[in-house]
């Protein structure tokens, strides 16, 4: 388990953590409405229930620590401070989207905020994070690369390859296994020989432990320690967060596999509700302040949604823009492989 817990963050930060968690929750609820209304296409994976894992992680990092994630990454972008308008516009496939409508829900990126993207191939982004850690060390910079992936992804071979290289070369990386106990409809016990995942990293001489992923302060403490190890001692670390997602795998999953009783049990531990209780109990926020914050957040989400809906579509003439950083043919209809 986590070494000695660092001090509780100051009140301002506590409030900010709660606001970000609320923003993610409300933003994703709105995204699900936009999806149901047919304005968002493709896959839409919601992280509702995982807000503590996301915000606890991001709040423990430096803003220039490169962060990579999976397709379930709206929250990571929001927590990094990306513009909710640009994120919603990306979900709606508009020209004002954070990736110009090229990525969609699964592929947000905000390089200016060191958010290096959401990726759709399970486990496939973990080596990229290793490369970001490599680059930091190569330049003798002190950033820590943090990569979040699911317990399902932990079964991919390439993740073990990365554990090995990180352990072998002492790269400044934190592997964050977000164990929400399911990969689509498959529970851990039907997918993994051993239910805990963090010992896999330990096998490669990586400091690793497991924490309650529904408790934002516990997550934050664990990530602070993991980032410290990577930054100051230049050693990789691995944190497994035990958490739960309240919605199906994606919007197209009716979520019939998981038992109602199980869902209720985890909903009783809703990270927003439990953290609200902490704030009230400590006198950091009162009910009025919370209501005011929620109203402010709803305003942000309303504004982002209006902005996205009113934004122009991406001009088809720009279809082939950006296939290459150094292009040689702009003809959107022609094959990009032929010189004009």
């Amino acid at each position: 388990m986590s070494p000695s817990p660092p001090p509780v963050p100051p009140p301002d930060e506590m409030r900010e953590i709660f606001r970000t968690m609320t923003l993610i929750r409300r933003f994703e609820e709105r995204a699900s409405e936009e999806y149901m209304a047919g304005r968002i296409g493709g896959f839409l994976h919601l992280a509702i229930g995982e807000e503590a894992a996301i915000v606890g992680t991001v709040s423990a990092l430096r803003p220039d620590d490169p962060l990579t994630s999976t397709y379930r990454e709206h929250g990571q972008a929001l927590a990094r401070g990306s513009d909710p308008r640009a994120i919603m516009a990306e979900l709606l496939g508009r020209s004002t989207g954070i990736c110009g409508g090229r990525g969609g829900s699964m592929h947000l990126m905000d390089v200016g905020r060191a958010f290096y993207g959401g990726y759709g191939i399970v486990g496939g982004a973990v080596p990229l994070a290793l490369g970001l850690a490599w680059a930091a060390r190569y330049r003798e910079a002190d950033q820590v690369s943090v990569t979040m992936f699911g317990e399902g992804a932990a079964n991919q071979g390439v993740v073990s390859e990365c554990f090995n290289m990180a352990g072998l070369w002492d790269l400044p990386i934190v592997f964050l296994i977000l164990n929400n106990q399911y990969g689509m409809g498959t529970p851990v016990e039907r997918a993994a020989a051993v239910e805990d995942f963090y010992p896999r990293a330990a096998a490669y001489d990586i400091e690793s432990w497991k924490v309650d992923g529904m408790d934002v302060l516990a997550v934050r403490a664990a990530l602070s320690e993991a980032a410290r190890l990577a930054r100051e001692e230049r050693r990789p670390a691995c944190v497994e967060l035990l958490a739960y997602r309240y919605r199906g795998h994606s919007m197209s999953d009716p979520d019939t596999v998981r038992a109602a009783e199980e869902k209720e049990r985890w909903k009783a531990r809703d990270p927003l509700v439990t953290f609200e209780r902490v704030l009230l109990g400590e006198g950091i926020m009162d009910a009025d302040a919370i209501a005011a914050m929620q109203a402010e957040v709803d305003g942000v989400v309303d504004d982002a949604t209006t902005f996205a809906r009113e934004s122009a579509e991406v001009p088809v003439a720009e279809l082939a823009d950006g296939v290459y950083a150094q292009p040689w043919n702009d003809d959107p209809r022609g094959s990009a492989l032929v010189r004009p």
């Binding site: 490369g131 090995n164 290289m165």
Partner: protein, 333 residues
């Protein structure tokens, strides 16, 4: 590592390109299996560990997907990794990283980051390595938008194209040929870069255009010699890169000769020769006097037995036959 310009091997030409670019740009580093202490399975990286140290010449575990992905991430952060995959056969386990990540990242994220990396690897058959170690997978890479693909046939091109690849801001796949590492020829100096998308005429001729790349250039040139003895003047053109493809030079030649044969060491179905032929049909249909010929490896997993292997890979005689077929002639001896 300086050799006389005239007799530099393809292997040493690549070594020179790596060394010169590492001296020029500190963000260039090399990574791959056995490239440092062992100096490369084909000794391409000879002397580089000694000169640049372990921080820039990195021996990896046998973990192609992992270190290829690492290279992509490092490139996203602005470094210029040159990843060596021991042979193209092992790139298959890294294909997800190449296709899902390297080729997509610039476009998919709206141009926020580029992936200025090189993945170089040799391929090809001819050494009785049988089915799992004899691939020519050029078509698989050329299929993918977002990649650039260079296929050097000579020491000069091996050096000049690799230097261009290292300085390019996109992911470039450089496909070398195991059979060419010992090939000697002149090479350019430090500033000799060969631009992508510029085909070169290896031998001028008026009767039929032969398009060939990598080791097949030499097969085509041998065929052209034989054809000349029969009074047929073939023009041999080497595209040098498939992304971009210099269709102008190819089409100009075919319009002149009215005939074409495409030679490719890969398999025939949906392959390089098929793709190039399709381009030429579209660009030159009204000029063609005969269907475009294709010479490929046989549509089989590469066999081990020497006679079978030689029968499976394109030989000069196969090219001669294909060229004569475009002229409605048969082989005469």
């Amino acid at each position: 590592m300086s050799t006389e310009p005239k007799d530099t091997t393809y292997r040493d030409a690549i070594n020179q390109a790596l060394r010169e670019e590492m001296l020029r740009d500190e963000s260039v580093f090399l990574m791959g299996e056995d490239i440092g202490h062992f100096e490369g399975a084909f000794k391409v990286t000879k002397g580089l560990l000694a000169e640049f140290g372990e921080a820039r010449v990195v021996d990896t575990p046998i973990t192609e997907a992992g270190f290829t992905g690492l290279g992509i991430g490092a490139a996203m952060a602005g470094l210029r990794p040159v990843i060596e995959i021991m042979t193209v056969n092992f790139a298959l386990v890294a294909m997800d990283q190449i296709v899902s990540n390297a080729s997509k990242i610039h476009y998919m994220f709206g141009g926020q980051v580029s992936v200025p990396m090189v993945i170089r690897m040799p391929g090809g058959a001819g050494h009785q390595l049988s089915a799992q170690h004899s691939h020519s997978l050029d078509a698989m890479f050329a299929h993918v938008p977002g990649l650039k693909v260079a296929v050097p046939a000579t020491p000069e091109d091996a050096k000049g194209l690799l230097k261009t690849a290292i300085r390019d801001d996109d992911p470039v796949i450089v496909l070398e040929s195991e059979g060419l590492y010992g090939k000697k020829g002149p090479v350019g100096g430090e500033d000799h870069l060969i631009p992508f998308g510029q085909a070169v005429v290896r031998r001028p001729g008026r009767d039929c255009t032969i398009v060939a790349h990598s080791r097949m250039v030499w097969v085509a040139l041998a065929a052209a010699e034989q054809l000349a003895a029969q009074g047929v003047e073939a023009e041999v053109i080497d595209p040098r890169t498939f992304r971009p493809l210099d269709l102008d030079t190819l089409a100009e030649s075919v319009r002149r000769t009215s005939r074409a044969v495409v030679v490719d060491e890969g398999w025939p179905e949906c392959g390089i020769a098929a793709g190039v032929a399709a381009h030429l049909y579209e660009a030159c249909f009204d000029w063609l006097d005969a269907p475009i010929g294709r010479v490929n490896s046989a549509d089989v997993p590469m066999p081990y037995a020497k006679n079978l292997e030689q029968a499976a890979i394109p030989q000069p005689d196969d090219v001669v036959r294909a060229v004569l077929a475009t002229m409605a002639r048969e082989v005469t001896r």
